[in-house]
């Protein structure tokens, strides 16, 4: 029925368009030329088509939300009182039973009372299906006449069509915004549920992290500790190491490519850097765990240092390499955007190239560079796969890069992998962590945007 309805919508649209166009053309013939019309005949057609199809589309959306509820309710209502479901669980089970009988999957051993419910289901399905088509076509005809009646030589059909299109664009844009809002709220509500079990100050300022919940209430260690400070410290440490790698390397690579490199070198070097952005983070992850971490460990042992096999240094280094292209390509763009007149002025005063870069170009490009760094930081904070593989699992409050630390993202992954019950503090703490992470990156992005707005210099 859905397919028929969509086909009907297309047919209605085509028919309304052709009719409206002909009517618009007839005005042109009667009034002596297209130039006498306010809008071209095709806009007349478009206006009528939109007027006919839009109510059909709205009706379809309403029907999709409402129809199956009516059908289900009628099918359940047809059951005798003894078989009526009492709670949500039996409601779903009974409904599945009815669905199976109605679609003919189950033939033998059918309770006649339930089969009566199935008959009712089929009946109401037919009713709602036909009502979709009949009401939809009626609405289409109403819309068509409403649209077609308005047409005249002076009618502003183009403006009407463009208003419709504007609203469609607004709808498309709001999908992205509404999704973000939805994510925030879903995380927020779970976080509030978590804070009803564990006080927020204990979560934000506690220094013990061992998320456990007991299966029996008298079990040993039945109360977990949800102090997230070690996770924040670990995240910050790894992020700092990563930025120590990615910041200078990315910035210098960007400067070299923008200012020194010949077009030939640039054509080779830029794709190579962009390959880094294309490497899957899992690959970086096992590279960190299997190559970099043992290398750092053996190097440390050579100097007599005790290095954990999953050190923060290894994860941070590899993560730094991962975010080099973010820093370099964004900074490259900003440096290229600095106008040539500034460089020429500096060279004219006798400055060397590096002096020009340090004294003139970098200050001019600073807001863009800062925002590139901010984006790289939020990327590093949210990165999961590398730290899952290369960083530790136990919360460890330390700032020694040679020890194993854990990060927020690793803990979220650990808490949510596998089968979970979604009302224990252990599982809910993942949402609280996610919310903190989300909030942190949001604040970083906000700061980056503000910096760019505040210090942006508009040349030329």
């Amino acid at each position: 029925m859905m397919l028929i309805y969509i086909a009907a919508m297309l047919l209605v649209a085509a028919g309304a368009y052709v009719t409206g166009r002909q009517k618009g053309a007839s005005f042109a013939i009667a009034g002596g030329g297209v130039a006498r019309l306010h809008s071209l005949p095709s806009y007349h057609g478009g206006y009528v088509a939109l007027a006919a199809v839009a109510p059909m589309l709205v009706w379809l959306i309403v029907w999709l939300m409402v129809a199956h509820r009516i059908v289900d309710a009628q099918a359940i209502a047809a059951l005798p009182p003894g078989l009526k479901p009492t709670d949500e669980l039996t409601y779903g089970a009974r409904l599945r039973e009815i669905y199976q009988i109605a679609s003919g999957i189950r033939m033998e051993g059918v309770d006649p009372a339930i089969s009566a419910g199935a008959d009712m289901l089929n009946f109401w399905r037919t009713v709602t299906d036909w009502s979709l088509l009949v009401v939809g076509l009626a609405l289409a005809i109403l819309g068509f006449y409403w649209g077609a009646r308005q047409l005249s030589a002076e009618f502003r059909a183009r403006n009407g069509v463009e208003r419709w299109v504007t609203w469609m664009l607004v709808a498309c844009a709001s999908v992205a915004v509404l999704t973000t809002v939805g994510i925030v709220f879903s995380v927020l509500f779970e976080t509030l549920r978590f804070f009803s079990k564990v006080p927020w100050y204990e979560f934000l300022f506690g220094t013990q992290w061992s998320p456990q919940t007991a299966i029996r209430s008298d079990q040993v260690g039945s109360s977990g500790a949800f102090g997230a400070v070690p996770l924040f410290a670990g995240t910050t440490l790894i992020m700092l190491i990563a930025m120590l790698v990615a910041g200078p390397v990315g910035l210098f690579a960007a400067i070299y490519m923008a200012e020194y490199a010949s077009p030939k070198v640039r054509a080779v070097a830029k794709p190579i850097l962009e390959v880094l952005a294309g490497v899957p983070t899992v690959v970086f992850g096992f590279f960190a765990a299997l190559t970099v971490a043992p290398f750092i460990r053996s190097t440390g042992e050579y100097f007599g240092l005790n290095v954990a096999s999953e050190s923060a240094l290894a994860a941070g280094l590899v993560m730094g390499v991962m975010i080099i292209p973010f820093v370099s390509s964004l900074s490259d763009d900003v440096i290229n955007a600095v106008p040539q007149s500034l460089r020429d002025g500096s060279y004219g005063m006798g400055a060397t190239k590096s002096e020009t870069i340090k004294r003139v170009i970098l200050p001019a490009a600073l807001p863009g560079i800062v925002s590139a760094f901010m984006l790289a930081i939020s990327r590093a904070v949210g990165e999961t796969m590398i730290v899952v593989m290369a960083a530790g699992l136990a919360g460890n409050l330390t700032f020694n890069p040679l020890e194993a630390v854990t990060t927020v993202t690793v803990q979220i992954k650990t808490l949510l992998v596998g089968d979970q019950e979604f009302d224990s503090a252990k599982t809910l703490s993942a949402f609280a962590l996610g919310f903190v992470l989300f909030f942190f990156t949001l604040v970083l992005n906000f700061i980056a945007l503000r910096i760019v707005q505040k210090y942006r210099e508009q040349y030329d």
């Binding site: 690579a253 070299y256 190579i272 390959v275 080099i324 292209p325 370099s328 590096s354």
Partner: protein, 50 residues
């Protein structure tokens, strides 16, 4: 007037030919080369990883 200009020119040339000036320029050019080397090093480091 002409005399004054001539003297300034001579002192200017003298200032640019002095040992300190040569040392300064050498230093600046070394800084230039170092800065360029940092850039090449950064790209080489990034390129060595994949």
């Amino acid at each position: 007037m002409t005399d004054v200009t001539a003297t300034t020119n001579r002192t200017m040339r003298h200032a640019m030919d002095s040992d300190e000036a040569r040392a300064r320029v050498r230093k600046r050019y070394r800084a230039e080369a170092r800065f360029k080397a940092y850039g090449i090093g950064a790209i080489a480091f990034a390129a060595a990883f994949p």
